[in-house]
């Protein structure tokens, strides 16, 4: 892979930030160095790791639940027309309900609890995952289905070796877009009704007009998500698509 263009592009971003900070002043936009020291202080007190951990745990749990439910629902809706007709209006409603409304209603109805927060994130991601997986289930290869039937493959074998591999690209797409969506929504959930996490920290910083801390937390979190994408999502994707013939 060629890293040079990426490095140049990142360098330009930092340079623009530097110039912007000079123009806008440290109160509106603190410079890169100032933010870096803020990150360092937060890191040494252990505050950063704690808030990051709390948020990541929420992301992981809600992402897992949403993907699992979305996959099951998507497969059922993709395969059975009646289920599709029945559940589709619900899906459309959920897809078009603003994230904020779902979160606020969840807190109003279930109280400012962890479960309400997680449920709100799941409900936000679920329709999106369902729609993508449904698309995959619709394009299942009938010929392979028949083959599995003729050879009397067990339901488990059919799921594991015939259906899921066909779903893999759709699951990967849903996971990709899901991860970035989920963490953004988790921050709002934390901002509105949780006593900890990156979203809560940013909320506090906002009230104190502390742009430095807002940037510090945002940048670290983006870096963590980038690392997850690079070191977890991409290797899994490569493993799953290892059978595809690659150009030499």
């Amino acid at each position: 892979m060629n890293f040079a263009p990426r490095l140049v592009s990142l360098g330009l971003l930092v340079a623009a930030w530097y110039v912007g900070a000079e123009l806008a002043g440290p109160r509106m936009l603190p410079g890169p160095l100032s933010v870096a020291t803020a990150i360092w202080t937060e890191a040494t007190t252990g505050e950063l790791a704690f808030q990051l951990g709390v948020t990541l745990a929420r992301v992981a749990v809600s992402f897992a639940i949403a993907m699992l439910l979305g996959t099951v629902l998507g497969v059922v809706m993709g395969r059975y027309r009646l289920a599709d007709r029945f559940a589709d209006p619900w899906l459309v409603v959920l897809l078009n309900l603003p994230a904020l409304v779902i979160i606020v209603l969840a807190y109003v109805w279930a109280g400012l609890t962890e479960a309400a927060g997680i449920a709100a994130v799941v409900l936000n991601k679920l329709p999106n995952a369902t729609v993508m997986v449904r698309e995959g289930a619709r394009s299942f290869d009938r010929q392979l289905d028949e083959m599995a039937e003729v050879f009397r493959m067990s339901p488990w074998t059919r799921l594991r070796h015939v259906l899921l591999p066909q779903l893999a690209p759709y699951l990967a797409a849903a996971a990709r877009s899901g991860l970035s969506l989920v963490w953004k929504i988790v921050l709002i959930v934390e901002l509105l009704g949780r006593p900890n996490g990156v979203g809560f920290e940013i909320g506090t910083a906002f009230q104190l007009f502390d742009v430095r801390r807002i940037l510090a937390y945002a940048i670290v979190f983006v870096l963590v998500m980038l690392a997850i994408e690079t070191f977890l999502v991409q290797p899994i994707e490569r493993h799953v698509s290892r059978w595809r013939p690659r150009p030499a």
């Binding site: 050879f151 070796h161 015939v162 059978w243 013939p245």
Partner: protein, 243 residues
Amino acid sequence: MSRAGGPAQLDVRIESKSYRSASGGRLDVLRDLKFALQVGAVAALVGPSGCGKTTLLRIITGIDRDFAGAVSLPDHGRLGMVFQEPRLLPWRTVEQNVRLGAPEATDADLDTLFAALGLSAHRNHYPGELSLGQARRVALARAFAVKPDLLVLDEPFVSLDDALAERLRDELAALVTTRRVTTLLVTHNLDEAIGLADRVFLLSSSPTHVIAELPIARPRGHSLAERTAIRAEISRRLGRAAE
């Protein structure tokens, strides 16, 4: 292997099978199609293209249950099938494909099969890395690995070049002979039918039924002259039926 005696045979009695056509009418594809196979028999179904052969196989293999009539399979009804296209799982290796189709096959079984079909070097390849001929061989290996009570082949060598088709046919003939599997082969290629089967069922055009049953003496070991004679006989019968 003892497969003798009892009701162990393939018995097909289809009264009718029809599709609903686009204009709303009923389209009969099969009507009064009846035949039976003894255990160990190798039969070929030969008929004009579009005569519903694939539909017939879908009924026999149990994929399509929407028909009037009955089909009884030999013994435990274990099926091995080779489709027109290889229908391998592209995301599993050659060996995994065979094992998934035949979970009970032992390592020794697979070794012999792969050796017989010239696949030993390809066990760990993915189907995308194989030629069509090799993929067809894998499909054959999978069907045989099941140790089927009934082996069903749907135009298994179509769109291969003649020499390769001939070689695969010989390999198939050898496997069928040594393993004594009850086999049903669908083809529009007369040479293929004569070269492999010990009886040929001639099918009419749609709505399809069996026009004639021709036993073939000394199957799988004909001289060219014998083959030509059988060909001529079949063509004569088919021509008569068409009149």
